[in-house]
């Protein structure tokens, strides 16, 4: 267990040193959302209606673009091989790195989402749900993303392929994430959607370490 | 000739049926391309797959023949058994 947290800490320290990574996620997220009012016009009613969809899609894209950082860096300088040799099972290695990834990506998106809600004229009743749904959904995005990243680690042009691989996995999170916020905005119950998001999270929590470890084992041999 | 009642010249009853068939009740523009694209994709996939098989089969035959020739000439020079 100690090695687990040590790995998380290590990744966080590394991310901090390369400061630009987390910042670029935040910047991308904000910029993407900002483009929509410019594109579709400033009319509040329209923006409000598409707000949750836009914010969630931007979150998905931001996560996708950041997946590169998950294993690639360590693979390239050989640290991944060393980490794989440690007593920590590869499944937990993957989980630790994914956790660190979420803390520097997903968590950021969760915290920024209310701000973007304001930009998109999101209905007042939906803000709390937005944060909750994001908090439940973004970990799943990191977990699913880890599978794609692990399968393509070491590939030169892996980036494009990763997007294609993870998009189908992201879609349920997108649908229910938007569903939750939409329900809250309409005054309906958001509980079923949040529960399903929770279920998807549990599911990804089991699937991701297993699949990612299998893929990493494959690519490291 | 009766007025107000258009008389259609009955030329070829058979051709009218075929005509009706191709018109597909007005939906021809959708139905025929749909079946056409389906046929094109299926036949295309079949042909490509078969072509790849035949081409590779030929390459394999050439390689195997070359190997046999190589072994034959090597066999006359040495007396070691084949792996």
């Amino acid at each position: 267990m100690r090695e687990f947290w040590a790995l998380v800490r290590r990744d966080l320290v590394l991310a901090r040193r390369q400061g630009s990574a987390a910042t670029s996620v935040a910047v991308f997220f904000i910029l993407t959302v900002t483009l929509f009012p410019l594109g579709v016009g400033p009319e509040s009613a329209l923006l409000g209606r598409i707000a949750s969809g836009v914010i969630w899609v931007a979150a998905l894209l931001a996560t996708m673009l950041s997946l590169d950082r998950l294993y690639q860096g360590d693979y390239e300088d050989g640290s991944l091989d060393l980490i794989a040799l440690s007593p920590l099972p590869l499944e937990l290695v993957s989980l630790a790195k994914t956790l660190a990834h979420w803390l520097t990506t997903g968590l950021l998106l969760v915290l920024l989402s209310p701000l973007l809600g304001v930009l998109m004229q999101l209905e007042g009743s939906a803000y709390l749900t937005l944060v909750a749904a994001m908090a439940l959904g973004t970990p799943s995005l990191s977990l699913f993303g880890s599978i794609g990243a692990a399968l393509t680690v070491g590939m030169k042009r892996g980036g494009v392929l990763v997007s294609l691989l993870v998009i189908p996995l992201f879609i349920p999170v997108l649908i229910f994430g938007v569903g939750a916020v939409g329900a809250a905005a309409d005054g309906l119950s958001q509980r079923p959607h949040l529960l399903i998001l929770g279920a998807i999270f549990m599911f990804s929590l089991v699937l991701s370490p297993v699949a990612s470890a299998a893929a990493l084992r494959l690519n490291l041999e | 000739m009766a007025r107000g009642r258009p008389v259609r010249p009955q030329q070829n009853n058979g051709m009218d049926l075929v005509d009706e068939f191709f018109r597909m009740g007005g939906y021809a523009a959708y139905i025929w391309p749909a079946f056409g694209v389906t046929a094109a994709l299926l036949i295309g996939l079949f042909v490509r797959s078969r072509l790849a098989l035949k081409t590779d089969q030929k390459t394999l035959d050439i390689l195997q023949q070359a190997r046999r020739d190589q072994r034959a000439s090597a066999g006359t020079a040495k007396t070691e058994s084949d792996a």
Binding site: I147, L151, T152, M155, R157, G158, L161, L164, L165, I167, P168, L169, I171, P172, I175, F176, G179, I200, F203, L207, A211, A214, A215, L218, N219 | F21, M24, G25, G26, Y27, Y30, I31, P33, A34, F35, V37, T38, L41, L42, L45, F46, S49, R50, A52, L53, D56, Q57, T59, L60, L63, Q64, A66, R67, Q70
Partner: protein, 248 residues
């Protein structure tokens, strides 16, 4: 399971599949021939959609078999990972392009069916959306095979992806269904709904059979090709090693 390894020998597979091929090809032609005749000539037009309902005879089998082929791919991948059956990953790899073609057919015919029915070339109904996502799954799978230089690594990575996709498919389909009812309570292409007329069922079943046999035929051809390609690769490596200079 012991029986399965009788077919593990690629040469034996080639012999047996060659024996089956003419029958399967004949069955494909027969199913399609009779199915098309009944579907285009004999079966009645729909009272609402008119003759355009005939597109169902290619759209529905393609769409349902697109899922079916994915299931075959997933099962083959599981067998490849668990029992390391040598033909399993070849079967999975060979199935993918066929499944992808089926999804393409479903999407194009769906659009051609949708335009006269709803006046729009694309509609985000549950089935079409699921098929579109499935196309992405197929393309990703095929892309992964191509991205690796080493065939054995590619096989394992692709198998992992296929299984991940398979376990996620029910979730994806469920969320798309839910998403669709939320946004569009309007009618979906209910060719398989309660209104299906028995006169429509027989051509539909025949076309379904045609697509299925087509899958079997092309699967065999592609698997045979893959086996030959691997033997070529093995020979080329051998040739270089024993001779010291490369084969032309």
């Amino acid at each position: 399971m012991a029986n399965m390894h009788r077919f593990a020998n690629p040469a034996r597979f080639t012999r047996i599949s060659n024996a089956l091929l003419p029958w399967l090809t004949g069955a494909t032609v027969a199913f399609f021939g009779i199915g098309l005749y009944l579907g285009l000539f004999v079966s009645p037009p729909d009272y609402q959609q008119g003759d355009s309902v005939r597109i169902m005879y290619v759209h529905v089998p393609a769409a349902t078999l697109a899922s079916g082929v994915y299931a075959v791919m997933a099962i083959a991948s599981a067998i490849a990972l668990i029992w390391r059956h040598p033909l399993a990953d070849i079967a999975a790899k060979s199935s993918a392009p066929i499944g992808a073609v089926f999804t393409l057919i479903a999407l194009v015919t769906g659009a051609l069916w949708g335009q006269p029915t709803w006046g729009t070339w694309w509609v985000w109904d549950a089935r079409l959306t699921s098929v579109l996502i499935m196309l992405f799954l197929y393309l990703g799978y095929m892309g992964l095979w191509e991205a690796f230089d080493d065939d054995r690594r590619a096989a394992k990575a692709a198998a992992i992806l296929a299984l991940v996709g398979a376990v996620n498919l029910p979730i994806i389909k469920f969320s798309v269904e839910w998403w669709n009812t939320l946004h569009q309570p309007a009618s979906i292409i209910r060719a398989d709904g309660p209104t299906i007329h028995p006169d429509l069922l027989i051509p539909l079943a025949l076309m379904w059979g045609g697509f299925l046999c087509f899958f079997a035929v092309v699967l065999i051809i592609r698997m045979q090709r893959e086996i030959v390609a691997r033997r070529i690769h093995a020979l080329q490596t051998l040739y270089v090693a024993s001779d010291g200079h490369a084969v032309a």
